[in-house]
């Protein structure tokens, strides 16, 4: 028997409109989750380097738990497990956003910690010696410099989280992979469809990379 595979361009093109319906969900989950994760990351990142042990240990516990367990387990736990606790179902979109938020928040906490700790102690000493309060010194001297150093690892985390949303097909959110699976079930064109799905992820992540590079260049220019 002779077997010859031919990439079916028509099938790939036909799949685009259906697959594209997944893009808003992918974007909503990743960027919604990342926005909350960013806030969590700043909060817990700063708490994790606080002098006060009672503020520090809950932050470190949170970071270690969400960095140390798979995001797939986290989202399954939120979607299937948590409803037992709260007594009502959690919709897949909310579960997905929550999982990205909590997971990226833990990684971003570490990015924040690293960024802040990388700033020379002389900077805050100069601020304090000028009479600035601790918080003035932090927010007008240490933080702006730390934030600039955080941009590349933040971009990295953004890209990781966007790709992580592909796992959420398991809870039935109509994101890119889920749309692909449903489409393939009807057309049996797995090669073409996953190829297009991959390209769509690449388009999103490359756009983000490009934006971050622009942001980075602007930051570097003024140092």
């Amino acid at each position: 028997m002779e077997f010859q595979f031919q990439f079916d361009w028509q099938a790939a093109i036909n799949a685009i409109p259906y697959l594209a319906k997944g893009i808003p969900y992918t974007l909503m989950i990743s960027f919604g989750g990342l926005a909350i994760g960013f806030v969590l990351g700043i909060l817990f990142g700063l708490l994790s380097i606080n002098k006060n042990w009672f503020l520090r240990w809950p932050a470190i516990t949170y970071i270690e738990i969400f960095r140390g367990t798979p995001i797939l387990v986290q989202v399954l736990f939120i979607f299937y497990g948590l409803p037992d606790l709260v007594g009502r179902p959690i919709d897949p979109l909310t579960a997905g956003i929550a999982a990205i938020a909590l997971n990226s928040g833990a990684y971003i906490s570490e990015v924040v910690r690293g960024g802040v700790q990388s700033i020379d102690k002389g900077q805050s000493e100069a601020g304090l010696s000028l009479g600035l309060s601790r918080s003035q010194t932090f927010w007008s001297i240490t933080w702006p410099q730390a934030f600039r150093r955080m941009i590349p690892p933040l971009g990295n985390q953004g890209i990781v989280s966007i790709k992580d949303t592909s796992l959420f097909s398991v809870i039935g959110v109509g994101e890119l992979v889920r749309q692909g699976q449903v489409y393939i079930a009807n057309t049996f064109t797995a090669f073409e469809v996953y190829f297009v799905v991959a390209l769509m992820y690449l388009a999103i992540t490359l756009t983000l990379s490009l934006l971050l590079r622009l942001l980075e260049c602007r930051g570097v220019a003024s140092i």
Binding site: D120, G122, Q123, E125, A126, G127, L128, S129, L130, G131, L132, S133, Q136, S140, I141, P144, Q145, R148, S222, I223
Partner: protein
Amino acid sequence: MTQIVKMKGMNKYFGKLHVLKNIDLTVEQGEVVVIIGASGSGKSTLIRCVNGLEEYESGTLEVDSHRLAPKAGNQKTLADIRKEVGMVFQQFNLFPHLTVKNNIMLAPMKVKNASQVVANATAERLLDRVGIGNQADKYPSQLSGGQQQRVAIARALAMEPRLMLFDEPTSALDPEMIGEVLDVMRELAKEGMTMMVVTHEMGFAREVADRVIYIHEGQIVEEGNPADVFDNPQNERTQAFLSRVLAH
């Protein structure tokens, strides 16, 4: 005469290391006190205690009649002291994300609520005074070391301090830039600024200091006017130190 700094029986430890031993020292208004000593002798730690960048463990410290208690001290007192005490660091510690002018305007605007216009005028005046009025809109990294240190001096002066602390201000500079920084400090001294200077520039100490203090292993072992200390040191430690640094 008003005493700006009054230390009595001050002790400071880094863990088990006893870095300042029973320090008694007063600095009068308008006086220039130069502190010399080998590295690790505690001279930097001594002036860092004055504005509370280092805590001390026992004794008393009064800065411009604000009494700063041992250990953490009172935050309000600390803030009051730091408003009146300027500091210049060995590594300049300019803020790299701000322009030269904004480095100088930051503290007056944040701490004294000076308006943009007033802070701007102050910055321009001070930059002219330290001889770099034409560099106001550059970033620190675009300046030479000597220029950066002069900006750092201007930045401290913008808060109109009653006392200036200099922590080895020329030690990180290329030799040809040391002179321009010392010139600015000499001018300041001439205008009557109270100064505590930690330095290895013995020529500057001899010329500008009203009093020279030699610290050895956390103790003040010799103190006097520069001519006496340099030409006729009494303590053998001072003699040994000076013969090492003045020999070449």
